[in-house]
Symmetry: C2
Subunit: 543 residues, 2 copies
């Protein structure tokens, strides 16, 4: 079972050093500390274990070190920055694992860009050696890239020429959409196994600059200092510590403080429940800082994040997640109010950004989600997003019991999807004014009102509820899991596209296709044959 | 060998009737008139042959019947509009054929929308019976959809629940992005094998309206008349006839009037040459109308279109197309000038729109393109787009001979890519002003100027030219064809996304992935098992 929780003192592959406004994140991958058997992590190549540490570092920098304005990403290995994802790991992994691995590494790189854009932490890649494949893709997720000019070090995307696959971590999209490299040059670069060195790499816009070995450290330090000094973000007082989540894992599920996951393995679905806080949450920043990582909106969504990652990677046969909430909606709404009123404080900003990221992780999870709204539920404000993220929403229409949902200001832009829209805007593409009009409604929506407002898919009554839910679950889990993945990836993201949706929707889909092709993973495929004395043999039919 | 040329008198599956401003395009698929063996085209299901006729009809309506303002799409079969792509055909086709089939049918539906948007020919789908799968996808490519309410007829997308694949002809994208159906309703509809009948289909925005059988024809006629009368497009005089292309097909290639294709099968590449007109073309609309389909910009790009389709479907192992032009650049530029000055005339408008469509077909072709600019070439104006479409452009830097390229007003917006940008805008994402600044340059660009302007990838000199081109070809054709397809699909479309790019980039990639999955096409896959007594068996791992 893969565990996504870690912390700096447990890191095997990264060193995180904080020096005032500058953090240095150094890659020093330990060859033998692999997540699985059968490969060695040579030349700072990585597997999922390495990336879990990176994701943790990016997350902690935001919460624990808000004073940091520049994150310098570099390597402790001589002459090599990073050789990218380990090929032997890829070659020996299942299709599902490869796909999940790429999705997580992509989310981590998007998180780097999110930190740069919204948290005022700029990332500088100091390539003190060759950055190939995923190594360059890590660099291109940073704001600036500097390459050592030692006569040898290069940047490259050798996936197409050497491995018969795509650079799977956003490289192609970021080449033309982020760095806006001319498409013909991007074509040359992406087919050139040996890559490019300093001068041409700079001329073509693939790096900011290059420096000779003797001057490299000084130049980087100068640049880093200048970014830190130019930073206009107010220096925050002190970070909070992200302690480990308490989770009780059993054969049938996982029990966190505010999140429960119950696996119905035979039925191939999971019940996931999020709980509102057990008491009213504090409303002042001082009290919230004191609570730190046990403040509900931080803790609950960190737990949800861990639960989603667990389901993705460790519970492949779970095809459907039935999402419920329980507790006092009023408490959730009160917290939303606090969050919105304090949103300019760095900690609250980070808590909101984290909720947004976790919800985007949900949107990008290759499982179906049904939200089930029953008596005692609290789909309100930020928890209403769970229902809006779901592929379908069922709300009980009860004559006897109160069932309701509610919006808050948090539904109005604080938690954007990968396409840049709110979930309400995505939902009401046909009637954009409807997304705004909802906020004129006072109080909660009962089932009739919710249906009228377009917020739920079906509203069965007490008599039908159990049967209808049971049938919906049975029907969903009987369908082809692959067709559902492709369908959901298409229906969830209506409207505009962003670099993120291009990476997850387009690039990922092509990579998944290629990851299955005999030319990559067949007996004579390029990925299979990498590092062997035999040559790849291709079926040259172009498709 | 599949032939893409046809004409109404040869149609087997469609009847095209013109009555003033209204054309009726009726589907009446002949079961046994299939393009391959092993299946029957029951219930107005279609194969590529049926769609080639549809594409031809859509094209001819624009050129031959500019007086038509409404195209009524309906069926001559009782109780069935269209059952979509034939499942047995899909089940027995190679992966490459399925992918090419879907690409062509998608292009045809995009051409319908292009005709509606730009040629003032509105499409109305009169569903006089059930429209399932590709049947509903054909309807949703039309502007309006009306369904008969006979107690039985429904619309549906049963691909996910019945076949374990996606609706492959844009259905999912058009549901949420064109008709802007709420995503949860789109989810329900796309997993409901039996589909929806009139009332709910209308409530959910899947159709415009539904009428009882007794009133169906009258209501449709009324609606069609009202669209025709409201049409503000000036009624054009008389169309021109699109005669058959003269092509000499040999074992090694195809020779058209203005286009040559030479296949280098061993090297897995093709040389494609477009020739400028052999004499100055006329400049008045009267002369051009007289020339009709032999007017160079119409003829030459129709030939290019046919050549591209031929290469896609009949020459799968050809992975690279080396594009050259020969002739007087001045003549091409003079024609561009004529086209721009007369662009408000319906015929010139159609000729320009056709060039744009053919170039988009090139952008979407899963083969590499290298443009080779040599002495005697005429990459000018509309032919310069060939170089701008290419993945790379090589231009000879000669001390002795003249080599040049030139822009025209045609490069400035008349020939948009699928992403809505000009090819120059797509090229200069990093420096948008550069795309405009080019037009300040007077006269042609010699090689140095072209390089300086960012218009070519490499400019080898006479000494290096032959070797460099040879090596580039050898290197390109040695790479994994699948990785190249995915790479090119990612690099060619930087910048904004449109419904078209979503269909070709995202939906298609997911469908291609699913088309390979054992859950669809394996021994126990849903597509394989369709219509058999055995049940599909899935590997339920979600990926």
């Amino acid at each position: 079972m893969i565990n996504f929780e870690t912390s700096p003192e447990k890191y095997k592959h990264w060193k995180l050093k904080i020096d005032g406004a500058v953090a240095t994140l150094s890659m020093d991958v330990q060859e033998d500390e692999t997540l699985a058997d059968g490969y060695k992590l040579k030349l700072n190549s990585y597997d999922l274990g390495v990336d879990i540490e990176l994701a943790d570092a990016v997350q902690r920098l935001r919460f624990e070190h808000p004073e940091v304005k520049v994150v310098l990403v570099t390597s402790l290995k001589p002459r090599i920055f990073c050789a990218g994802a380990n090929i032997y790991m890829l070659g020996t992994s299942t299709h599902a694992f490869k796909v999940n691995f790429c999705k997580f590494t992509n989310e981590t790189r998007c998180a780097i860009e999110d930190a740069s854009r919204h948290s005022g932490q700029r990332y500088v890649a100091a390539l003190n050696g060759t950055a190939s494949g995923g190594g360059y893709e890590l660099a291109i997720a940073c704001d600036e890239i500097y390459l050592v000019d030692d006569g040898n070090s290069a940047i490259s995307l050798p996936e197409v020429p050497l491995l018969g696959v795509l650079p799977g971590t956003g490289g192609l999209t970021r080449l033309v959409d982020k760095r806006k490299v001319r498409r013909d040059r991007a074509d040359v670069f992406s087919t050139l196994a040996e890559g490019l060195k300093g001068k041409r790499a700079k001329d073509w816009g693939l790096i900011e600059d290059y420096f000779p070995t003797s001057k490299f450290d000084v130049e980087i330090a100068t640049r880093v200092r200048s970014i830190a000094e130019a930073s206009d973000t107010t220096v925050a007082a002190r970070g909070i510590t992200l302690g480990p989540l308490q989770v009780e894992a059993t054969a049938d599920g996982r029990e966190y403080k505010y999140v429960s996951v119950k696996l119905n393995r035979e039925g191939r679905y999971a019940d996931l429940t999020m709980r509102a806080p057990e008491a009213d949450a504090p409303r002042t920043i001082e009290e919230i800082e004191k609570l730190g990582d046990s403040y509900w909106p931080l803790r609950a969504f960190r737990e949800l994040d861990d639960a989603l990652l667990h389901l993705r990677v460790n519970e492949l046969e779970t095809g459907l997640v039935c999402v419920r909430t329980t507790g006092e909606a009023g408490r959730v709404l009160a917290i939303d109010k606090t969050l919105i009123s304090l949103k300019d404080h760095w900690l609250i900003r980070e808590i909101i950004l984290n909720i947004a990221r976790v919800l985007r992780r949900l949107d990008l999870t290759a499982k179906s989600f049904f939200a089930l709204i029953e008596p005692g539920s609290c789909f309100a404000g930020s928890l209403l997003e769970l229902a809006l993220s779901a592929d379908r929403t069922y709300m009980l229409n009860s004559a006897d019991e109160d069932v309701s949902i509610a919006t808050s200001e948090m539904n109005r832009g604080a938690l954007p999807m990968s396409n840049g829209l709110t979930r309400l805007q995505s939902r009401f593409q046909a009637e954009p004014e409807k997304a705004e009009k909802l906020f004129e409604h006072t109080g909660a929506f009962d089932t009739d009102q919710a249906e009228e407002a377009g917020l739920v898919t079906f509203a069965p009554d007490d008599l039908d509820w159990d049967d209808e839910i049971r049938l919906a679950i049975e029907e969903r889990t009987s369908l082809s899991p692959d067709a559902l993945t492709g369908m959901e990836a298409s229906l969830r993201f209506a409207g505009p596209e962003t670099m993120d949706t291009k990476i997850f929707g387009r690039l990922t889909a092509w990579q998944n296709w290629i990851f299955q092709r005999p030319n990559a993973v067949g007996e004579h495929g390029a990925l299979t044959n990498y590092g062997k004395p035999t040559q790849a043999q291709f079926d040259y039919k172009r498709t």
